[in-house]
Amino acid sequence: MAKRKTTIKTLAKKATQNGRSNGNGTPVRLAVQKTYKLYIGGAFPRTESGRYYKLKNNSNTLIANMCLGSRKDFRNSVVAARKAQGKWASRTAYNRSQILYRIAEMLEERRDQFIATLSDLGYTAKQAAREVDATVDRAVHYAGWADKYQQIYSAVNPVASAHFNFSVLEPMGVVAIFAPENHGLLGLASAIFPAICGGNAVVILASEKEATAAINFAEVLHTSDLPGGVVNILTGKRAELRDHFATHKDVNAFVYYGSNKADKKAIQTQAADNLKRPIFIDESDLFKNYHESPYRILATTETKTTWHPIASDMTGGGGAY
């Protein structure tokens, strides 16, 4: 019963914040609460499982009931991602760049909202502002890379034969991600941006304890001209979804933020089933530079090398009598 009380208290508090109060704590107008759902294929469905978990802040206050994403939600996300990936990769780099920049614009505009979201999750105002600003800047950073990383990391290879030979970077395809468990906004975005910058489609499990930030961020993505299915965001529990992420045969890479040894071992083992690429990233200090780097784009690309003959002048051999 105690929990129930807390809930009501929180709701009342929110109502006061967002609605109008008559001064004695009773709202004149009851604020409308948001239902947090998943983000799959450009839509916001509820979890097919009908399950939820309670997202609370540090002081045990209920923030929201989050969808407890299931194996089937993951499956649906992979289908959506696979469907979207080819077209996304075929977009011009300029277009991908502009969409990433659009994400920055949309987020900047909702700066206050996200500061509030993060504050609810226990961030100080200063921490929340730093996180939101860093996320906006990170989007701008990767927006700039979209039409540049190929130029730096592709190669024309001077083979010792009559062939033109070049290597380009192609997206791996569908990238499944466990977002960092900390920094529900910056961590999530830092995982998504390099992957989609490189032309992949993403299925990402949000930080369990900061999942509201992730779903709010889905709304940013949704209004940034990002085609549906390119980013799919699930909320739920790592322990439940890990094996499904690791074993799904239509997933090309699994990017894991964290350092849990048992997780690492299980993922590496299961990834062998279809040789999806297991990629492990230390999630400490997400503000550091290496989370903002072309090498993070390269991590979910494949090198493709193409050969074609080059005809030379037809002079060889022969001559007069």
Binding site: N157, Q268, A272, L275, T305
Partner: protein
């Protein structure tokens, strides 16, 4: 009168003038009766005291006895490599490191003929290939990576790069010295030390390389060569003090390795199997395409992970292409690997021959139309297989889906580019693919949509040290060759 649509007249290749045997001389080649393990700069007896035979697959005769390394030997090799890494190799100026690798390249060039002959004797591949492809490319690979040693920062702008430490490498039997070069050259250039295991049927050129490494004066322990079968490989993979595993071989074993290293910090690169599509469109340069098909599947007896083993021909030219292909197959010479005129040598081992024959049986059973040319096969104790063609195959056939690793081609017809793409990508593999068409925009459409690491357009089975090699999907991960090949042996932080 309208011309009858009869089948084309055949050409007669049973000519009055034929080629006399032209065997490469084996006089200058020294193969010892027995080979020990190369650990810490010396040849040492295996603690197992066991030796196994390596045979000439063209005759079945024993060439030499090879030491079998067990866990203890591998441990000794890893310790030697660790010590060399910590005391010498990681401390040496990069430029000096590079010079050692250059030396190896030059020594291989000097002894190219000897290496070629041994490669053909031990592995069964035609001398023309070991002489013109395997050995020169191996030397070129060392030469290319040697030059990278002191230039690594330029390869990874704005990043910190560090060698990984001790690299454990396990290589296959299809290109024995070349695969050793692909593994050793970049690992050395990037500052790692090595424990490498050649395949058990083809250890000889790796052991000759060990002699050459001694000649080059490489510090003891920088390269250790341990011979043996699967258990020896497993000992390397599972050794706790190995920092990196590089494997080339079957997808099945690749998966086992990936699972074996799970939970460790070992960095892994895998270069695995393939079932490459070779797509011939109606506007292709047909005669060159036919040559590309031949080269794609019958090169090295089809023991090639990137072999163009699935042929897709557009229906409007299918009849012509298949007729020309069969005609061309009649001129292939199967026989003594040491004969300079041999096009297709001996199958590498009895086991592999059994596998191939099994697949030919399966193909026939699946209802595909079977063709082999009329060429004669040597009648001796060797392992031989004629170049084989299956037409009227379908995606659902096992001979279309599974890697045979032999001279067996499965042909399907396609109607459109779209269909070609769908079927070509309809496989868990993704190592290589071929495209033949005269139209530039079509080439780029196909090459950009094919899911494979190497795409040959209007050519096939070309290799170069500057050109990255490696697959998508179940063909493995990581690249060998080119700038991309450096990352496999470095910790890149940036």
């Amino acid at each position: 009168m309208a011309k009858k649509n009869t089948s084309s007249p055949a050409l007669n290749f049973a000519t009055d003038w034929t080629y006399a045997p032209a065997p490469e001389s084996t006089g200058h080649v020294e193969i010892k009766k027995q080979y020990n393990l190369f650990i810490n700069g010396e040849f040492v007896k295996p603690s197992s005291k066991k030796y196994f035979d390596t045979i000439n697959p063209a005759t079945g005769e024993v060439l030499s006895k090879i030491a079998e390394a067990n866990d203890k030997d591998v441990d000794k090799a890893v310790k030697a490599a660790r010590k060399a890494y910590e005391t010498v190799w990681s401390k040496m100026p990069a430029k000096e490191r590079g010079k050692y690798v250059y030396r190896i390249a030059r020594l291989i060039q000097e002894r190219a003929r000897e290496f070629s002959v041994i490669e053909s004797l031990d592995g069964g591949k035609p001398i023309r290939e070991s002489r013109d492809i395997d050995i020169p490319l191996a030397a070129a690979h060392f030469f290319y990576y040697a030059g990278w040693a002191d230039k690594l920062p330029y390869a990874f702008p704005n990043a910190q790069v560090k060698p990984l430490g001790v690299a454990g490498q396990v290589i296959p039997w299809n290109f024995p010295l070349l695969m050793a070069a692909w593994k050793i050259a970049p690992a050395l250039a990037t500052g790692n030390t090595i424990v490498i295991k050649p395949a058990e049927t083809t250890s000889l050129t790796a052991l000759k390389l060990a002699e050459l490494i001694q000649d080059a004066g490489l510090p003891p322990g920088v390269v250790n060569i341990v011979t043996g079968a699967g258990a020896t490989g497993a000992a390397i993979v599972n050794h706790p003090d190995v920092d990196k595993i590089a494997f080339t071989g079957s997808t099945g074993v690749g998966k086992i390795i990936q699972r074996a290293v799970a939970g460790t910090d070992k960095k892994v690169t895998l270069e695995l199997g393939g079932k490459a599509a070779n797509i011939i469109l109606e506007d292709a340069p047909i005669d060159q395409a036919v040559e590309g098909i031949i080269n794609g599947i019958y090169f090295n007896q089809g023991h090639v992970c990137c072999a163009g083993s699935r042929l897709f021909v557009q229906e409007s030219v299918a009849e012509e292409v298949i007729h020309k292909l069969k005609t061309r197959m009649e001129t292939l010479i199967v026989g003594d690997p040491l004969d300079k005129n041999t096009d297709i040598g001996a199958i590498n081992s009895q086991n592999q021959l059994k596998t191939i024959k099994e697949y030919i049986k399966i193909g026939k059973g699946e209802g595909a139309e079977f063709f082999q040319p009329s060429c004669a096969l040597p009648k001796n104790g060797g392992f031989w297989c004629k170049p084989t063609l299956f037409t009227n195959t379908a995606q659902s056939h096992r001979i279309v889906q599974e890697e045979i690793f032999g001279p067996v081609l499965a042909v399907q017809t396609i109607r459109t580019v779209e269909e070609a793409l769908t079927k070509a990508n309809n496989t868990p593999y993704g190592l290589s693919a071929g495209v033949w068409t005269d139209k530039g925009s079509k080439i780029f459409r196909l090459t950009s949509k094919l899911k494979a690491g190497i795409i040959w357009a209007n050519t096939f089975n070309k290799f170069d040290p500057t050109s990255p090699f490696g697959g998508y999907k179940e063909s493995g991960f990581g690249r060998e060759g080119g700038v991309a090949g450096l990352a496999a042996y470095l910790n890149v932080k940036g």
